[in-house]
Every structure is written in structure tokens, then in C-alpha cells.
Symmetry: C2
Subunit: 189 residues, 2 copies
């Protein structure tokens, strides 16, 4: 109904991050988020189903991972294909320009158990997407599961390392190195 | 306040399983669960915080895993210690007598996305407990994370295999074999 609002989702996400950091996730309402963004409540609900999803919307990550795995060379080993997926995240989602934003998002999530639950579930969904993408390459079920778990773990560790990295190293580089460390660790289990 | 009710938690869990299977999780109320168990609403809330937790209560699994890892021989490799934990689950939780109950619980969870979310979060918590238990044995952070992810995956796969096993093989045996397969798969990633 309402007229088109340029960048409405991004403005809502940034407004939500500000308010969650200022007064806490629980004490912030959808109306307040919309007002801070200079938008209406109904515009909020056109983009997000509820307050929690404002930090977890738009499943670009799943798409990037699945496309990254599909785009890996045909002869790439499962973990190499996963590395391609993590590279795609680095070049298209976790870019240097987004580092500060991602760091703020992480801080807000760390302060709220409900958001941490949502983040954990999101990781389960991303792992399932990687398993499917690997199986479409002909990887066996068990190997696809193991490679996806290692990839998901590499993601999580690299995410923290990237945000905290003083030198501003690329996410993709950090993720590849982390994946190598996890592969070595799995050999010494 | 109310008098002590013998086996109240078990009776409530069984009543809930029956009702969830009969009429669905959404359509069942706490009062109905209590009535079916021959107990009161307040007895229900003395044992469980809400309807969902009736299938996820009493954190015996975490205790068994942590104790199993701690009880492994001092020279056991990380994945061997995890195998001890899975053995403990087999001898003390997933016993042959409980197989039918666990199968019914699995069917109810498979039919409801909210319960699946809860199950996924529970798995995240169990993995975190294993990581802590391994680190207390002096295992490095990365290796503890990898071993716990493989252990968690072995648990999940072995759980399905155990319920579906025609011969009634022990959970512990199935879990050990599964862990070996995952270790081999991780070497070929």
C-alpha cells in the first residue's frame, strides 16, 4: 500500500541495531524501530515477520554458500568446495566495508539468549544447505555431513577472527586458513 | 504444596506423547496432558516450565556425556573419549527397554517444526558440553570442537540407526561404529 521506501530493510536493520545496543533487545518495540528509521510499523512488517528476524532476514548467506559449492571445479574435494563457498561469503557478504556492521550485530546477539538461539538455528539451516549442495556434486551422505560440519565450524571461528582481526585481513583468507586448521585437527582426533 | 506423586514426570511425558501423536502438538494443552496423566496442572508446572519442555526436560544426557568423557582412560584420544560418552548414553539412557519410547518421541518431534527447533538447540548445547569436558582433559580448543562436532553427528546418525535397527543392536555399538565411519569420512574430505 504505502509508497516505496528506498533502502527500507537496511534502514530498519541499522535502526534496530542502534536501539538494541542502546536499550536492549527486550525493551525495544517494532514501532520504535520503525520510527527511528523514519518509517512506519506497516513498512517494518512488509520486510520482516517479527522483531527477532530483523537481524536474521533475507537468506543471502544460504544462496552464497550453495552457489559457491556448485561453482567449485568438478574435481575439487568436498572441503575445497566448502572453501569456495566461504570465499563467496567473503567477497559478497562479509566485505571489509561491512565489518563494523557485523561486529555491532554480533555484540547485540551476544547480549540476548533469544537471539543466540536464533543464530544457532540459522547455523543448523546453513549446514543443511551445504550438505544438500555437496550431495548434488555426488559426495556421499556421510562425507557431505562431515565436510559441512567442518565448514560450519570454520565459518563460526573465522567470523570471530575476522571481526577481531587488527590487520583487516579478508574473511575468505581467514576462513580458508581456519578450514585447514580444522582438517589438521580432525586428523589428530 | 501438593502431595508427592510417584513417577509424575514420566507419567506426564507419556501422556504428552500420546496426546501429541493423537491430536498434534499444537492442539494439545497442558491441562489435557495433566488430566491424561491423572495429575493436576500445577503438578505439571512443578516439573516442566512449559508444554514444549515436557519432551526435553531433565538434562540427564548432558550429565551422561560429560561424565562419560571424564571417565575415559587418561591416554584415550579425543574421539575415543567421545566414544566412552556415547557408550554411557547407550547403557544408561538409550537402553533396549526405552527404544519404543524414543521412537515415539522422534515421530512426534518430526511432525512439529517448533519441536525440531528445540531439538536442534538441544544438540548445540550438548556439543558445547562435550567441548568443555574435552578441554578439561587438556585437549586443545580446535581439536575439542572438531571431536565434539563429530561426536554430535555420530549421536544423531546412530540415534536414527538404533531406532530403525531390526536386530535390536545396542546404541553404544552402533554409535562407536558410526563414529569410526565419520572419522574415515573426515580423512577423505
Amino acid at each position: 500500500m504505502g509508497r516505496w521506501q528506498p533502502n527500507a530493510p537496511q534502514r530498519l536493520v541499522l535502526a534496530a541495531l542502534d536501539l538494541f545496543a542502546e536499550r536492549g533487545y527486550e525493551s525495544t518495540t517494532v514501532v520504535e524501530i520503525a520510527e527511528r528509521a523514519g518509517l512506519t510499523r506497516s513498512t517494518f512488517f512488509r520486510h520482516f515477520p517479527d522483531k527477532r528476524e530483523v537481524l536474521f532476514g533475507a537468506d543471502t548467506m544460504t544462496g552464497l554458500l550453495v552457489e559457491g559449492i556448485a561453482a567449485a571445479p568438478a574435481d575439487a574435494a568436498p572441503l575445497q568446495a566448502v572453501a569456495y563457498a566461504l570465499d563467496a561469503i567473503g567477497t559478497q557478504a562479509f566485505t571489509p566495508a561491512r565489518r563494523e556492521f557485523v561486529a555491532r550485530r554480533r555484540a547485540v546477539i551476544a547480549a540476548n539468549p533469544e537471539l543466540q538461539e536464533r543464530e544457532a538455528l540459522k547455523a543448523v539451516g546453513l549446514t543443511a544447505s551445504m550438505i544438500d549442495a555437496l550431495k548434488r556434486r555426488g559426495v556421499s551422505d556421510l562425507t557431505a555431513r562431515v565436510a559441512s560440519q567442518l565448514g560450519s565450524l570454520a565459518w563460526k571461528i573465522a567470523y570471530d577472527r575476522w571481526i577481531d582481526a587488527p590487520g583487516g585481513e579478508d574473511f575468505g583468507e581467514i576462513a580458508r586458513r581456519t578450514l585447514g586448521e580444522l582438517q589438521a585437527a580432525s586428523a589428530s582426533c
